[in-house]
């Protein structure tokens, strides 16, 4: 029977193909530096602040692109194949367990102990629902709050120590130095926001990325859309935003470096409240050489401009 032979041969080929899919890592490291994969620019900077020249970091989502959606290219995969540590933000920034970062980790068969979420110690806040509802969605943008930044630095420092114990003292010292700077920055945030009169603490931006910051320092947060991955600037969203601005009369409207500014312009035209320039940063750093090209200068930049905007005289 010819058909039977065909079926049999296909089953054999199938078994062969499936069985040869599970090889282990082919080659060991060629340099003695710790190789780290980082999902986006802020984590990359924190890693370098703590690891300095003991590590090599390969940054995935480049500055100017959205870390919610990134498609790895061959060089990323080559680096990932031999990486010692995989650092992502977590809180769904990289798309969660079906997101691109998880797929990358799974496809190179990485050891789960070497994959960390920098935000693992952060109490999540929700854009939709809460932790008890079935259809909840976590807000990933925790790092905009410097209090969270301090926790993330600690988590990243611990992770580096655990994969490279020989350099533990070095990492610990760098971490302590870095934490001192972050704590000083956090103090500046607290003092600055405390000095703003309560009736001026209305903060309006395009994406609801500033929730952690707003909660921490007692700002009331307005936004047009909840998260970049959904529809940006639908009629309903614009209407709600205009109502917020009319109700609370914030002194300025903020835009972020990597979002479309047109919806906010519509809000500005409808309400007469001006847009604040320059744009502030949400989920990326500035380009290398620009003002906010490290996490610390990013925090400083955002504080300076948010403070300037909120304390500006209303027109």
């Amino acid at each position: 029977m010819k058909r039977f032979r065909i079926i049999l041969s296909f089953i054999l080929v199938g078994l062969l193909l499936v069985s040869c899919q599970n090889q282990k890592k082919a080659k060991e490291d060629t340099t003695d530096k710790v190789k780290v994969i980082s999902s986006f620019s802020i984590l990359t900077d924190i890693l370098y602040q703590i690891g300095k020249d003991a590590i090599i970091v390969h940054n995935l989502a480049p500055v100017g692109t959205d870390p919610h959606e990134y498609q790895p290219v061959p060089e990323d995969m080559k680096f990932a194949s031999n990486a010692d540590l995989f650092v992502q933000n977590g809180l769904n920034l990289e798309g969660g367990k079906n997101g691109w970062f998880s797929k990358l980790v799974k496809s190179v068969n990485a050891d789960e102990n070497r994959v960390i979420e920098a935000s693992k110690n952060i109490e999540p806040m929700y854009i939709i629902g809460d932790k008890n509802s079935s259809n909840s969605e976590v807000n990933p943008h925790s790092f905009i709050n410097p209090v969270v930044g301090i926790e993330m630095a600690k988590t990243i420092g611990q992770a580096l120590i655990s994969v490279d114990e020989a350099n533990a003292a070095y990492y610990q010292k760098n971490l302590d130095d870095y934490l001192a700077k972050l704590i000083a920055m956090e103090k500046k945030y607290r003092e600055s926001f405390a000095s703003i009169p309560e009736e001026d603490r209305y903060f309006m931006a395009s994406e609801r990325a500033f929730q952690y910051l707003a909660e921490e320092y007692g700002l009331t947060e307005g936004f047009i859309w909840k998260v970049d991955t959904e529809e940006n600037g639908s009629p309903d969203q614009i209407k709600d935003a205009i109502n917020f601005v009319k109700k609370y009369q914030p002194p300025v409207l903020f835009i972020e470096s990597n979002v479309d500014s047109r919806p906010m312009q519509t809000v500005s035209k409808a309400t007469g409240v001006p847009i604040y320039y320059p744009a502030i940063y949400s989920d990326e750093l500035g380009k290398p050489g620009e003002e906010a090209d490290t996490y610390l200068t990013y925090l400083e930049y955002n504080l300076k401009h948010i403070y300037n905007g909120l304390t500006r005289e209303r027109e």
């Binding site: 058909r3 065909i6 079926i7 296909f10 080929v13 199938g14 193909l17 499936v18 899919q21 599970n22 090889q23 282990k24 890592k25 082919a26 080659k27 919610h68 959606e69 498609q71 790895p72 290219v73 061959p74 060089e75 990323d76 995969m77 080559k78 990932a80 194949s81 769904n92 798309g95 969660g96 079906n98 997101g99 691109w100 797929k103 990358l104 799974k106 496809s107 190179v108 068969n109 939709i128 259809n135 969605e137 991955t229 959904e230 529809e231």
Partner: protein
């Protein structure tokens, strides 16, 4: 180029992710190339595109029911395929319009569901897979489905051939043309759905249509068309991946462009029907 090839082969030996990407894109290139022949010959070239978008309501439903995307996607893909042939056979509407009506309706329904359930489903993650980051479970699913599809084409070659070229003859010889059509739609849906998760929508459409059309220009019998199409599909995958790795470019789109370049080469340089020769003879006759 020789050096680049050497590096590529070394990379291939060193990196399991690259071996997986190559094996998956090769087998999908072959399977899509073969299914594509029947799709192209029957004038259903955009069916794959339609199905790949029409699966969205199924994906949303799978999310609500908390089951694997695959099942929901296959069910809705088949519903779309059936819907298209129903509209086509029960009215004077032609198949291209039927495809347009059904697939846009399904896509709209899917977007509505995704918006309403406000889930963390990311449309891009579903519609644009990446051949470099295929999870182990997706990999096995893809291989199994591709083998089922290729095997079905071998097993039912005669039936598929007859119903494609001469449905009346097929019907009189006791064959259920309808059943064969449904089987073809099922195969197309299966291969489209697995390819979606692994390589993304653009690559599926391209692998279904471009190699088969190239083979159509080159061959005279269905059997040789199938082989040539499978070969071109596989070659596009391998060559595309080579350029993608050498120049660090996104793999899916480079594979698509490779298939397109192979098509253009044949289109222009085919010894008998090549556009270039036609052009040259025309200008020569003008001079004379």
């Amino acid at each position: 180029m020789g050096e680049a090839l050497h590096t590529f082969i070394n990379d291939l030996i060193e990196y399991p992710f690259l071996q997986q990407a190559l094996s998956i894109s090769l087998i999908l290139g072959i399977a899509c190339g073969m299914v594509g022949c029947f799709i192209v010959l029957r004038g259903l070239a955009l069916m794959g595109d339609a199905i790949s978008h029409a699966v969205l309501p199924g994906v949303a439903l799978s999310y609500i029911l908390n089951i694997s995307y695959f099942f929901g996607a296959v069910v809705f893909g088949i519903m779309a395929a059936l819907g298209i042939s129903f509209v086509q056979h029960h009215s004077k509407i032609k198949v291209d319009s039927a495809i347009g009506i059904v697939f846009s309706a399904f896509l709209a329904l899917g977007i509505l569901m995704v918006t309403k359930i406000q889930s963390a489903i990311n449309l891009n993650n579903i519609l644009f897979g990446n051949v470099l980051t295929i999870t182990p479970s997706d990999r096995i699913l893809t291989i199994v489905v591709a083998i089922i599809v290729i095997a079905a084409i071998f097993l039912f070659f005669k039936e598929l051939q007859l119903s494609t070229f001469d449905p009346v003859m097929a019907e009189t010889s006791g064959l259920s043309v309808k059943l064969i059509n449904y089987m073809l739609m099922l195969l197309l849906t299966l291969i489209t759905v697995v390819s979606l998760q692994t390589v993304g929508v653009i690559l599926v459409v391209s692998l279904l249509i471009t190699p088969a059309s190239t083979a159509f220009l080159l061959t005279k019998s269905l059997k040789s068309m199938l082989w040539v199409s499978a070969l071109i599909g596989a070659a596009s995958a391998a060559i595309g991946l080579f350029f993608s790795v050498t120049y660090n470019l996104p793999s899916g789109v480079v594979i698509v462009l490779t298939a397109t370049i192979i098509f253009l080469t044949v289109f222009l340089l085919h010894p008998k029907t090549g556009l270039l020769w036609q052009f040259l003879t025309k200008s020569r006759s003008k001079i004379a």
